[in-house]
Symmetry: none
Subunit: 258 residues, 2 copies
């Protein structure tokens, strides 16, 4: 392998600056950005000036640097290009990091009223919940399935409830159509679905809807783990999950066909 020169260090510096400014609400000073980029101030000032001149950053009246209109436009066009799975991956990763539990995306299978798991980031915990991707499961006994039922057309949901045989997987599986209907209605109001030991004993799952174009629910994002561990952190998990679902819904709203 011939010896080739290293890539220019401005690449990592530029992205370090952009990433930092994307995470901060307020602008940042030259000195702070130089510290974050681990680079001399006189080197960083050249990069900042160049990005300001090109409209990717702006410098406010306090001398703080912020993301500029061209960066926002570029970001919008990048996000608009992605499909759900591309957009979901970093969100799933962050959610798994925040909660310590496995995070997944599930959608309605195209040919049957079943949930299909299309992406996941497994928990770092040695004791973790997991499910094979591509797996198809019943709607009525999973948090994802209940979210999808809550947001599908009312007549399609009614047809499903009339026709589906609610077999028990565990002693906690809901097998009463009346009880399930009531719970689906509550999920529609609350936005989140929680299952405890319904599909697998000892496993809880918490799911939220992901909205696509026109507000339709196209998928659900879910975290799942051992019921006792999920129980102790449920409140924080709900907050993290709502935020993750919202950022994905935002991202999906931007990806309309042109």
């Amino acid at each position: 392998m011939p010896l080739t020169q290293a890539a220019p260090q401005s690449i990592d510096r530029i992205f370090s600056i952009l990433g930092h400014l994307a995470r901060e609400r307020d602008g940042e000073s030259l000195s702070e950005l130089a510290r974050r980029a681990d680079a001399p101030k006189s080197s960083v000032v050249g990069l900042l000036t160049g990005m300001v001149d090109s409209g990717y950053l702006i410098r406010d009246v306090q001398g703080k640097y912020r993301l500029g209109p061209n960066m926002v436009a570029l970001a919008i066009s990048v996000v608009a290009r992605q499909g759900l799975q591309d957009l979901a991956r970093p969100v799933l990763q962050r959610l798994a990091d925040q909660t310590g539990e496995t995070s997944l995306i599930g959608t309605l299978a195209s040919d049957a009223d079943l949930v299909m798991y299309v992406d996941k980031v497994e928990s770092a915990n040695p004791v973790r919940y997991t499910v094979p991707l591509g797996e198809r499961r019943e709607l009525y006994a999973s948090a994802v399935g209940k979210v999808l039922l809550a947001h599908m057309a009312a007549d399609r949901c009614d047809t499903y409830l009339r026709n589906e045989k609610l077999r028990a997987f565990t002693p906690k599986t809901i097998t009463s159509v009346r009880t399930l209907r009531q719970e689906i209605s509550e999920i529609r109001e609350a936005g989140l679905a929680l299952t405890v030991d319904e599909r697998v004993v000892g496993v809880s799952a918490l799911a939220a809807p992901i909205h696509g174009e026109g507000g339709r629910v196209i998928a659900a994002i879910v975290i799942a783990g051992p019921s006792e561990r999920m129980r102790t952190a449920l409140k924080q998990h709900k907050a993290s999950l709502r935020a993750a679902a919202k950022s994905l819904s935002l991202a999906m709203a931007g990806t309309t066909t042109h």
Copy 2:
């Protein structure tokens, strides 16, 4: 002004590459990207290699370069940071393209019960409606104003209707408080407001609410044009406007404080 050196040319080259890849569905070759960036291939290959190493680009099995996971994650976090006007711009552009009419965003002025137009994309038609940005107009005679009245606190709306002198701008301006109250109630139900020749003879406007955090209406998105042209395409315009308002509402829902 002391003579300082120019910013490094890699800045413009990096953003040129990213912008181009964001617009293309397929990947692009090294030679094509070098042409687009107007730079020697041997210079561009160093930038590409650096961005691939850092995960901002990937190189597929055909040797084509594409946006990588770190660029997608950066873009998502940039978009999640924006305010209404930044997010609105591409939506207004698309709406103006789809409908052929001028599209605008209006909000409630902070110091008076007036509409203020804060952003617009003018129609490409030589015959077009336009209004200067920053312009402040009465609520009762504009589609935006009626949307905002329909979604504000009921007592604030009542106070406005009691105190505002409903002067006529045209023979079609609604000057009866009773009629206006009824119409506001209908707008609250229907979601859309339509004005025909009320503020300016020969001009119609169609407005929909934009919801922010917690479902509050923070602005309205509107298309406006000559009444006859608006009339002939009203149904399609309603569909396009609803979709635009929803995508903005979802985008605004995503920009929550973490």
